[in-house]
Amino acid sequence: MSGTALVVLRCSGLASLQDGGRPGYQRYGLSVSGPMDPLAMASANALVGNAPAVSAVEFGLGGGSFRAEGAELHLAIAGAVGVVTVDGRPLIGSRSFTLSDGAEMTIAPPRQGSFGYLAVAGGWLTKPVLGSVALHLRAGIGSLAGTPLKDGDRLKATPTSRRLPDYALESAPLYGGEPIRVILGPQEDHISDDGLRTFLGKVFTLSHQADRMGYRLDGPAIAHGAKGFNIVSDGTAPGSIQVPGNGSPIVLMADRQTTGGYPKIATVISADLRRVAQRRPGDEIRFAAVDLATARDAARALASRIRDLPRSLRDAEMAEIERLSRANLAGDVVDAMAEQP
């Protein structure tokens, strides 16, 4: 029991290590995995000077308490996390901070959104499986032992050699109210005209059957056409929207099945999939059809936003002062702890 580590004293929800995932094995039925919100993970990484897809802890509707062991740790949080408390001091928003050797911190579960990220300077150290440390729950590989993080786990890190400044990032909206953009197909010909109108015209809500594999939506049933609801299984993509026999759509997510036998009415464009991922059961969702060129523009915009994150960093103290004065001007009660559930 030596070396530098963050000890998991207690954690809730589905906590796992994620990185860029493991492309190349879908032909064997193993999906890529990786972060449910790549922008949020890249933000946490940028705050501690890491490349966008360096290993980070992903919290799915959860949080926990932790202790630094062996050395001080330079950490950052971003995405859907609640208040972070370090030595009794609350920290708000996407930012980096130092946890001294032996000090404890708590991360409250988020009040909005689903997935938050905890990065460490240099990344979390564990043995990759097929080139990645990303947990794939069904396959039982990745993270520390092919399972979600649990109380008592030790997340190893490289000791920080130099003191890094604390930075903050303007938090990206987790999902916003605009419709989720989709490209119709590949099997929209299995859906009736009425079914297509329902899909593009009605409001759906995220059901409780939602995990890293797929999100089942509640709402009006989407009617199939004459070709029915069975196809000879073919390949799926991240964001594929399957419509099984009962007409309730399922959006396929990071740990999805690589092939499937239900018709796929549409695919969420890559730039918008994180906005689906950050929804939680009960949240509303609407869809709008776009063309391939629009989808590609959005993908490039997201990629350049991720590339520019290091240039968007701000001094954490200054950002906090500005935030507080904005809140005061707006007449809000400044009570950070009120955000804790």
């Binding site: 064997y28 069904r138 590989i141 073919d234």
Partner: protein, 241 residues
């Protein structure tokens, strides 16, 4: 007869599928594997990986690195080439304990077809199968080549969990399951062979296009073979063609 032209289907901005047909047959799968082979040799810029299935090839791409439409047009033109029949493959011999607790649906499948359980085993084990697709979950091998005398629709009530190594049939297909999973198929038997071995090299036993034969073994050999497989021994035999 000229083959039907391949069809391009979009899966959003990160993937497209080249579809050769809508049915399960060896000729379509030949074309899928041939295109897969060509793309793996050619290494076109922007392709992340390819996924062969029964009747189509899904191409995953990086929409930031390449224009998806241009890439799709290039792939589609490669897909129109005529296909030679020669696809190198291996034939695996997979030991299976049929019936009883290992294959709880064997009796029902046999009586559905009005034959004895022994005959059902004999029919299942004398065919040569081909891995048409690996998919759904890691290492799940979907096989073509099931004798029509055994074919029957899937169960009305799927089981929420079936064990790793399950050998089952559904419709005209046969399956080797690698890990425990829900299933609506009919369970004929179980193999101690690990077709998905995290931490080993290679991690997956089968490649798309491989041939598979099943060898009935007695239930009292299960423990010994299961222990050997657990210890990392490769208990499946194979012949390279």
């Amino acid at each position: 007869m000229e083959p039907t032209p391949a069809k391009l289907l979009w899966n959003g901005d990160t993937a497209f599928t080249v579809e050769f047909g809508e049915s399960i047959n060896g000729d379509l799968n030949d074309r899928v594997l041939a295109l897969d082979g060509v793309l793996r040799e050619t290494g076109l810029d922007g392709i992340v990986e390819t996924v062969p299935t029964y009747r189509s090839l899904t191409v995953h791409l990086d929409p930031v690195a390449v224009d998806p439409s241009t890439l799709a047009a290039n792939v589609l033109s490669l897909a129109q080439h005529k296909v030679g029949p020669a696809i190198r493959s291996r034939t695996w011999r997979i030991p299976v304990v049929y019936g009883g607790e290992f294959g709880i649906d064997l009796e029902a499948v046999a009586s559905h077809h009005g034959i004895g359980a022994d005959e059902a085993v004999n029919i299942h084990a004398s065919a040569e199968y081909r891995v048409f697709m690996l998919g759904f979950l890691p290492g799940f091998a979907y096989l073509g080549g099931l004798d029509p005398r055994l074919a029957l629709p899937r169960r009305v009530n799927p089981r929420s969990i079936t064990p790793a190594g399950t050998i089952s049939i559904g419709g005209a297909q046969a399956l080797v399951a690698s890990i425990a999973a829900p299933s609506g198929w009919h369970l004929l038997g179980r193999t101690p062979v690990r077709t998905f071995r995290p931490g080993d090299d290679p991690i997956f036993l089968f490649e798309p296009g491989d041939r598979v034969r099943f060898e009935p073994i007695d239930a009292d050999r299960w423990d010994e073979l299961d222990r050997a497989a657990q210890a990392g021994e490769r208990i499946a035999g194979f012949v390279e063609e």
